[in-house]
C-alpha cells in the first residue's frame, strides 16, 4: 500500500525560469526505507520538501495518506504524519536540555503530560540517547545532536520520517549512528523512512533507491540494481560503491561476475569463486 503518492508533480521556485521538479510520478510503500540520491540541484531536496507540505506543487498533486498537501486546512494534520530532519543539527535544537527538546513538539500538540513523558522516554531510547537525557545539547557530538533531532520528530509519533541530508555535516562515526538509527526505526517500528543523501554508502541498506536528475527520476529500483548501471550513475555525477565498481571493471575484462553483489563479503565471495574457477 502506498503511503505517499506524487501525481505528475511540477514545481518551479518563485522567480526561477527552470522547473525544479518536472512531472514526477512516485509512490512510496508504507513501512519501506527509500533512499534518494542525486547531485546538487537535481531536485532531491525539493522532492523531500513536498512530502510534508513545506512546498506545494505548482502543478499536479502530492497525497500523503490521502491528504492533499495543497489543502491548507489539513496542513497541520499532514505535518503530524510526516516528520522532517534537516542537515544542520544546530538549527533544529531549541531547548537547553535534551529531554526538553524532545518534548517540544508533543507539548505544542497539547499532548497530556504523562503521555509526553512516555513518548520522550521511548523516543530517546529508540535513538539510544536515553542516558544523555539531562545533558545540554550543545555539548553533544554532531551525531548525537542529530539523533536528538530525530527523537524530537519521533515524539510526534509520525508515520513517515523524511531526512534531508542528515549526515552531511557529521563525521564517519556520527553518520553511522544516524543511519543505523533510521534503519532500526524502519525495521523495528515499521516507520516509512525517506532518506535524501549524496553518500552512496548510506543507500546500500535501503529497500529502494531513487536517483534524481534535473527534476526527474533517472533511476528507481533496488540499490544493487541501480548501482549496477554504472554508466548512468557516472552520467549523473554520482559515484558507485567500490564493490560494484570493481565487479564492473573485472567483468569488462572478461570475468563472469554479477554486478549486484553489493556488500563487501558477497562481492569478495563472487570474485574468489571466479578466480578459483
Amino acid at each position: 500500500m502506498s503511503i505517499i503518492k506524487f501525481e505528475k508533480v511540477h514545481f518551479t521556485y518563485p522567480g526561477d525560469q527552470m522547473e525544479s521538479l518536472c512531472g514526477v510520478d512516485l509512490e512510496i510503500e508504507k513501512g519501506s526505507f527509500v533512499a534518494v540520491l542525486g547531485h546538487n540541484g537535481s531536485g532531491k531536496s525539493t522532492l523531500a520538501k513536498h512530502m510534508n507540505g513545506i512546498l506545494a506543487p505548482t502543478e499536479g498533486r502530492v497525497l500523503v495518506e490521502g491528504i492533499d498537501s495543497s489543502d491548507e486546512s489539513r496542513l497541520i494534520e499532514l505535518r503530524r504524519k510526516v516528520g522532517m530532519v534537516f542537515q544542520n543539527p544546530d538549527n533544529q535544537i531549541v531547548a537547553n536540555v535534551v529531554e526538553d527538546d524532545v518534548a517540544f513538539a508533543p507539548e505544542n500538540l497539547g499532548v497530556e503530560p504523562g503521555e509526553i513523558r512516555r513518548r520522550v522516554d521511548e523516543a530517546l531510547k529508540l535513538v539510544d540517547m536515553y542516558d544523555k537525557r539531562r545533558h545540554a545539547p550543545h555539548l553533544l557530538s554532531g551525531g548525537q545532536k542529530q539523533r536528538v533531532a530525530i527523537a524530537g520528530v519521533i515524539a510526534m509519533e509520525p508515520d513517515i520520517i523524511v531526512l534531508d541530508e542528515p549526515t552531511a555535516m557529521l563525521d564517519p562515526l556520527g553518520r553511522e549512528e544516524v543511519i543505523s538509527t533510521v534503519t532500526r526505526l524502519c525495521r523495528e517500528k515499521g516507520m516509512t523512512v525517506v532518506l535524501i543523501t549524496h553518500h552512496m554508502d548510506e543507500c546500500v541498506g535501503a529497500d529502494r533507491l531513487i536517483v534524481m536528475s534535473g527534476g526527474s527520476i533517472a533511476a528507481d529500483g533496488r540499490p544493487a540494481e541501480v548501482f549496477a548501471d554504472i554508466e548512468l550513475m557516472e552520467r549523473e555525477g554520482l559515484t558507485v560503491p567500490e564493490t560494484t565498481r570493481l565487479l564492473y571493471d573485472l567483468k569488462k575484462r572478461g570475468m563472469d561476475l554479477p554486478l549486484t553483489a553489493l556488500d563487501v563479503e558477497s562481492c569478495a565471495k563472487e570474485i574468489v569463486k571466479q578466480l578459483r574457477g
Binding site: G38, H39, N40, G41, Q87, S141, G142, E165, A168, M169, D171, P172, L173, G174, H198, M200, G237, L238, T239, P241, E242, T243, R245, L246, D249, L250, R253, M255, V264, E265, C267, A268, K269, I271, V272, Q274, L275, R276, G277
Partner: protein, 286 residues
C-alpha cells in the same frame, strides 16, 4: 621557503581549571615546502587543535612551531605575519562569507595586507581562476550562490593571500561527489602551479589515499602513524581499532584475503586492487 617545523608541541585547554585537558601532546614533525600531507583522526583526536597552531591561531602551552626557520610565536608581529604565509580554510568556510559581493569577499585578505588596488584585483581574479569561480559570479552577492560555489569562494579568499602553506579542514564535507572531485582538483592544481605546501584534514579516506604524499594519523592528541599512504593503510587493522575508516579498496582487499586470495599488502586504491586481481586471474588461467 616555508618549511614547517613543530617541536614538542603541547596544548592544554582550560589550564588551571578542573576541566584542564591536554588536547595535543608530544607533537614533533617537519613538513617540507611543497608537500601534500593529509591529517586524519577521529573527532576529538586533536587534529583541529594541531592545525590551528600552524598559523598561530592558538599558541602552544609548551613547545615550538617554526615556519621558514622563524618561531611563529616569537612576537606579536610574527604571529601576524604568519597568517598571510599560512592560509587556513576552516570547516564550512561558506558560513564566513560576509561581504556584499563575491569580489569584495575574496579581496578582503589581500586588502588587509595593504596591497595596492591593482595587485588586489589581479589576486582576486587569479584566486577565482584557481578555484573555478566564474568571472560573472564576482559581482553577485555570496548569498545567491549554491553551497559548492560558496565553498569555492571561501577557499579563493584564502588563496588570494598567496599563502606558501595552505591548510584546509575538511574541504569537501557536505558536498556532492562532483563538487568534491572539483575542489580536490582545484587544490591539487593550486599546489602544482605555485609549489605551495598543502595540508588537508579529511575523513574521506578514498580522497586521502588518492592524493596525499604523506598521511599523519592523530589519536588521543598524539601522532600515532606518519608515513606514505602505502605505509599507513598497510596498518588497516590498527586504523580501524582507533575508530578510523580505511579506503573502500583496502576494506575489500582485506575481505578477499580473508577468503583466501593471495593479495599483496598495502592496497589502497581501486586501480591497485584491480590490477592485483587481474594478475591473479592471469596466473589462474595459465
Amino acid at each position: 621557503m616555508s618549511e614547517i617545523i613543530v617541536e614538542k608541541l603541547r596544548h592544554i585547554y582550560s589550564a588551571g581549571t578542573p576541566f584542564e585537558v591536554a588536547a595535543i601532546e608530544d607533537i614533533d614533525l617537519v613538513i617540507p615546502q611543497g608537500q601534500l600531507a593529509a591529517v586524519i583522526g577521529h573527532t576529538g583526536s586533536g587534529k583541529s587543535t594541531f592545525i590551528q597552531h600552524l598559523n598561530a591561531l592558538l599558541s602552544p602551552s609548551s613547545g615550538k612551531v617554526s615556519c621558514g626557520g622563524k618561531d611563529i610565536n616569537e612576537s606579536k608581529l610574527s604571529r601576524k605575519e604568519v597568517k598571510s604565509q599560512v592560509g587556513l580554510v576552516f570547516q564550512y568556510p561558506e558560513y564566513q562569507l560576509f561581504e556584499e559581493t563575491v569580489y569584495k569577499d575574496i579581496a578582503f585578505g589581500p586588502r588587509n595586507m595593504k596591497l595596492p588596488e591593482e595587485e588586489i584585483d589581479q589576486r582576486v581574479r587569479e584566486a577565482a581562476g584557481f578555484t573555478g569561480v566564474d568571472e560573472e559570479l564576482l559581482d553577485k552577492s555570496p548569498l545567491e550562490l549554491s553551497g559548492g560555489q560558496k565553498r569555492r569562494v571561501a577557499i579563493a579568499g584564502v588563496i588570494a593571500m598567496r599563502p606558501g602553506v595552505l591548510i584546509l579542514d575538511e574541504p569537501t564535507a557536505g558536498l556532492d561527489p562532483a563538487g568534491c572531485r572539483q575542489i580536490m582538483e582545484n587544490i591539487c592544481a593550486y599546489r602544482e602551479k605555485t609549489g605551495a605546501t598543502v595540508i588537508i584534514v579529511s575523513h574521506n579516506m578514498d580522497d586521502v589515499a588518492r592524493i596525499a604524499e604523506r598521511i599523519i594519523v592523530f589519536s588521543h592528541g598524539r601522532i600515532v602513524m606518519d608515513g606514505s599512504a602505502r605505509e599507513v593503510f598497510s596498518r588497516a587493522e590498527e586504523l580501524m581499532e582507533i575508530g578510523l575508516d580505511v579506503p573502500h579498496a583496502t576494506e575489500l582487499a582485506i575481505e578477499l584475503k580473508k577468503q583466501g586470495l593471495p593479495l599483496p599488502e598495502g592496497i589502497y586504491t581501486h586501480e591497485q586492487l584491480l590490477s592485483s586481481l587481474l594478475k591473479l586471474k592471469g596466473v589462474a588461467s595459465c
